[in-house]
Amino acid sequence: MSSNSPAEPILELDGLSKVYPGGLKALDDVSLTIRKGEIFALLGPNGAGKTTLIGAICGMVTPSGGTIHAFGHDMKTDWRKARARIGLVPQELSTDMFEPVLRAVSYSRGLFGLAPDPTRIEEILRSLSLWDKRDERIMALSGGMKRRVLVAKALAHEPDLLFLDEPTAGVDVELRKGMWRVIDEMRRRGVTIILTTHYLEEAEEMADRVGIIRAGRLVMVDDKDAMMARLGRTEAHIRLARPLTVLPPAIARFPVELEEGGSTLRYRGGDGAGKGKQEVAALTKALLAEHIDYTAIDVRESSLEEIFVTLLGEEETA
């Protein structure tokens, strides 16, 4: 984990573990520090322990071991002060569907011990485009709107740390982008955000740091850009004018392979920080120097998704 940011830690997990009564180890010695103001994306396949981790911090799951400190408060003994500053948007659309939007959101504020503040609630509802729906029952809203209501409920007590468990699950592309704008707005307000997601595009778009969890273990935590640079790859497909059977030594020194019966030269290398593109440029020059003609070049950088899949694959074979 990089520690080059001066921002103060607001959440510290140390050796957190959870073993369910059936023996399932959902969290295995998880240690993590979240810094003020960052967006942290927790990635992992289904059943990896993402929701259990959030549950342990937010009070729905009793940890089997380890410690959780939020805002300097021990969550085991001083949970009231800490919980008052934490908001949670659950994965499931769980809310009283018969309640009107405004009342549901106002209730959440009261539940967290704050005095009623209709102006603040109006601001929150307007920022989520829910103000016009304030008197409607939640059951009458679309899936995307219902999720926004859950976000509004989580924001009603003005938390400093917000957990979003799969915030855009089952939401169409347009609404997902709308949710990203909402998250961005929260970040601008200084809210620290921890989100779990299946959409790696989402983590790539939003997150400052990424943690990868698998079978309850935090496999990797790093700055997103650093992770991309360290594990990112450039892939180039060069379609040759005439198929090759053997690569000349000047070309074979690059990380290349022949594909499709020798008609395509595939390059895979670099570091996600530009080295790959430079090598591809050098490779094309080397091809010309060897009088090997080509008709097309397709170059692309690997996504966080590919890194994720690669990492999990390595874990599996380890």
């Binding site: 937010c58 729905m60 769980s94 009261g110 967290f112 011990g113």
Partner: protein, 254 residues
Amino acid sequence: MIGWRSTWAIYTRELTRFLRTAFQSILAPVLTTALYFIVFGAAIGSEMPDLGGVDYGAFIIPGLLMLTLLGETTNNSSFGIYMPRFTGTIYELLSAPVGVAETLIGFVGAAATKSLILAAIIMLTARLFVDYTVAHPILAVLFIILVAASFSLFGFILGIWADNFEKLGIIPLLFLTPLTFLGGTFYSIDMLPAPWDTIAMANPIVYLVSGLRWTFYGQSEVNIWVSFAITLGFLALCVAIITFIFRTGWRLRA
């Protein structure tokens, strides 16, 4: 330290939920009570002798009140906590800075308030059928509050214990209603032949019905203070169980 704002939020929300279904919540018990009065009060009661100098129609009022009170209070309270568990909305309560005190005062207070409203309505309904007076009105109200609070707590435990709708309904159906019927709602325990009069004293509901009857008519099978003591003991037991549940997170936290 109790978070009163959180408590108030839970209390008012639960009452709002009750008002949302007010028609069903009020009409059903009123109709049931009216039917009991028509059958046992007017039809059969007219053929029955006075019991301890109290007209039979009037005699069954405390028992009928208790019958509705126990059933409705337990159901209201158990549903109040079971439904958030069932639908998943309990996450909000568990993640909020609220503990056992706020939750209990909020949920149980609301369930008890509903029961008091219901008790008042039933007494008014009874007035339409039978002429009666309450000998000790303050003690009657206190006793009703105590019973409502105790059975709200009991219902709360039931709502946490139950992991399906069947379990939720089984205790009121198989235990509470039969024990109330056998607890002297429609008769005096003194009327039972030996050894049933002694066996009947093992039924805790006897003490509740008898206690309430004393506050109405100044006479009962059991000393009023014994009734108060038993109800208080039951309340203390329920509070202890709920405190244990919150401390350990049993059926609340994974």
